[in-house]
Symmetry: C4
Subunit: 269 residues, 4 copies
């Protein structure tokens, strides 16, 4: 008799779960699929971290953030962990001043002011990458200006300024560790799409996570191409400003690449 | 009794299937093995996409096509998807004007005019690659001419012209998006085996899929070798035109490499 | 009856094992987790070998050592085997003179004097890497001085001397095979963080295994960046000495990278 | 009764097999372990093919051979297949004139005269690699002489001649396809350890398979280092001839590297 009761209890639990899945499942899927839903943006931010690590843009250091959907005064950024290891549980929410809302004892990236101050200064920016990509370090160390070598890096055409922390704050340990330094960096960025940091690395901005990931990958390829063109010599050509303007009006510029990269990190390749 | 009837029915079905396999199997295999059969060409086109992605010639962007076996006025090209992800179901058939015969709602590559207009202008061309291979971008940006550094890229020896879309059509977004632009590009290609696109990438043509894949891979290696030779300095030598001509009379030039690449993508390496 | 006795014996053995695990388990875990415990240092040394191989710093040759916890007159170094293959069983203990305490018939690295003589000359050094990293060979062959291109290689800022074995000992087979050669190399190193060996490779020192691994990886990236900056041209900037000093006061400089690398070799990626 | 007989027959067969394994097993193992046994040399030749492919020295083309143990007038070389795909069944035996003894309908590499003619001219040579390694193509195209940048490529120190097939035979398709061309190449090689082929690639020789594989890998690394040193500038140093001579007296120069590479290809890494 006890066995029958236990069996009936199990069957009732199964019915309840089935009901929940039937009603709640589509709700969950809908939540995932709404492009601006919180869960889907967190998922894309985790994906962005993994892609940037897989493509060699970020290694143990560097970070990527995105404005919070529905509340532009906040942004999402992982806790202080290597991008390759970021999971949804590592994503923290930050206020406009760069302070985490609920850190739960976890450390934040020391250079989060790069993100908070650019979001403050640039309402058009929706996603930011800070990286130490090897190909960009020589350009951060030279006064030879970056040029757009091909259409995939058209956003470089209006110039990539260099932020020199020494000019902003004298002798430092080279880290943009507070709001004043972040503001100085955002000021140097101005209206541009990317910035180099002398003796440090780079910052890339865009109007979406797919676009900031695409821009970061192609900024690396573009830098390599420019160095090689200089080594090749001859009379060099670049993407012209008017051509770059037309290219940048394409809203889906990096979408096919994003789809590929997203699928590759999902399947662990 | 009902059970016996069901069993007899199943046995009859098995006999029918066995017969079909016995008769139809070899027919299917023969279809696959005939070098010009439609199914085997579609399979090779999928393989070519995967090889070019694996070898770093194509990434999220770029594409490869082949003339339709038995109907040279048509060609096969994947729908708009990253080459690495192409499957047989993604292959569409295109008419001579670059329009898909039955898209089934799927998008086509915007630059398919590169393929359609070259097939029109060059009856000898059986397969075409359009790529943004990183090593080619510097050469597309410089007036230093490409040279054949070794026998594997002998097809470079008679020259690699540069197509500048600005000369053809003024200010554009750099994409060869329509037939007039495709015709201008095909005109620049002339009788050559490859062409560079200023601020964009390259196009490679050949008389078969294995050869266009081989040429694309070795064009990349040759470009790197030429840049390094220039950096090395000294008095440089190249493959001479008469040597190149003899090399290109070898019909199996890239076959051993194709066999290796084909097997590697099949086994997921 | 015999069966019952056997069963009772088995049950007693299980109880004994359970007791041992209950008492001994936490003791073992505590041993692993104490940062300076012998077992955890041996484990970290194996990990360091694997990371340096995975990151391309060491290949079939080269080695990494660490001072023995609790006895600074001794150090730990693998027997003569490729770093990628090192396991805990391959770690040997060495005396201050570079001789193994209990080789058990296994061969030692011929160039262990690099380690023994630096440990003798530099009480501050806790870990040493000797490598033939490809990017460092050109710098070992040139009198162009290494410079710190970015914050991740700040330790380069006070200079990287070149040890020329010919100046120390005339004609040799280029290997630092004995104590006098090790002493000459340690003398050239002086108080610096890294040294180049003409016609051979490099040596990197640090105050911990994570830091010597981090320094070795970023010395490679820094060398590549410096060469590229020279190729790029223009007016070049570097990390200044005062900036470098502030950077090097950060005790956790390479810890996030170490955590990532450690996890990757543990999971076989 | 029939069952009992069958069972007895099976038991007798087992006893026979056990006997064969007991007696023959050690004999087989001894055959594998004798360094010069035919089976172990074939196995090492397969391994050498796989290593050279994994290390980027050979791709779809190129080949490696070894003199036949016990009969120096013969040599072993795979049939015409990509090195990465070579198995023991692909290894053919060749006579001194470069003709296969029993091809069983399989094609031979067209350039086997490189091997046959060097074996004829150089009794000291036990193994030969012919490759198109990308880093060597610029050196094959320039009159800047190769130099030994570090101890791992000491064998380069006495010079690397360039074989120009045009000087030997006028206009060709650049392949060393017959004995006269092989003899011309062997003559250019002289007593050296490696040779470059203008517009083609390189040939490396050694006194064993491990050493020809080690030399081929480090020739590639050395070429990259030399190019980078030239780009770096400054006053350059090299391995001196007397130092190189001492290095080359080390019989185990590449053995630790060979052990690592062998284990990696065996485990599919």
């Amino acid at each position: 008799m006890a066995d029958l009761r236990a069996l009936r209890g199990i069957l009732r639990l199964c019915a309840l779960l089935a009901g929940l899945v039937t009603i709640g499942g589509p709700a969950l899927l809908a939540a995932q699929s709404r492009p601006d839903s919180f869960a889907s943006v967190v998922s894309d931010l985790v994906t962005a971290n993994r892609i940037l690590a897989a493509e060699g843009i970020l290694d143990g250091l560097g970070h990527v953030s995105v404005r919070k959907p529905g509340d532009p005064s906040r942004f999402l950024l992982a806790r202080s962990i290597a991008p390759e290891l970021v999971t949804a549980d590592d994503i923290l929410e930050y206020a406009a001043d760069g302070e985490p809302l609920d850190a739960k004892g976890r450390d934040s990236y020391r250079e989060r002011s790069i993100h908070s101050e650019i979001y403050r200064a640039r309402p058009d920016v929706q996603a930011i990458v800070h990286c130490h990509t090897p190909s960009l370090i020589p350009f951060a160390a030279s006064d030879v200006p970056m040029r757009a070598m091909y259409h995939m890096a058209a956003f470089v055409a209006d110039g990539v300024p260099i932020f020199d922390i020494r000019k902003a704050a004298g002798v430092t340990d080279l880290l943009v560790k507070d709001a004043p330094l972040g503001r100085a960096l955002a000021k140097t960025l101005g209206t541009k799409s990317a910035l180099l940091m002398r003796g440090h690395g780079a910052v890339i901005i865009a109007n979406s996570l797919p676009n900031v990931v695409g821009r970061s990958v192609y900024l690396d390829l573009n830098a390599r191409a420019q160095l090689q063109a200089i080594q090749l010599g001859g009379r060099l050509t670049y993407v012209e400003a008017d051509e770059a303007k037309l290219r940048m009006s394409d809203p889906n510029e990096y979408s096919r690449a994003w789809d590929l990269w997203k699928r590759k990190v999902a399947t662990g390749r």
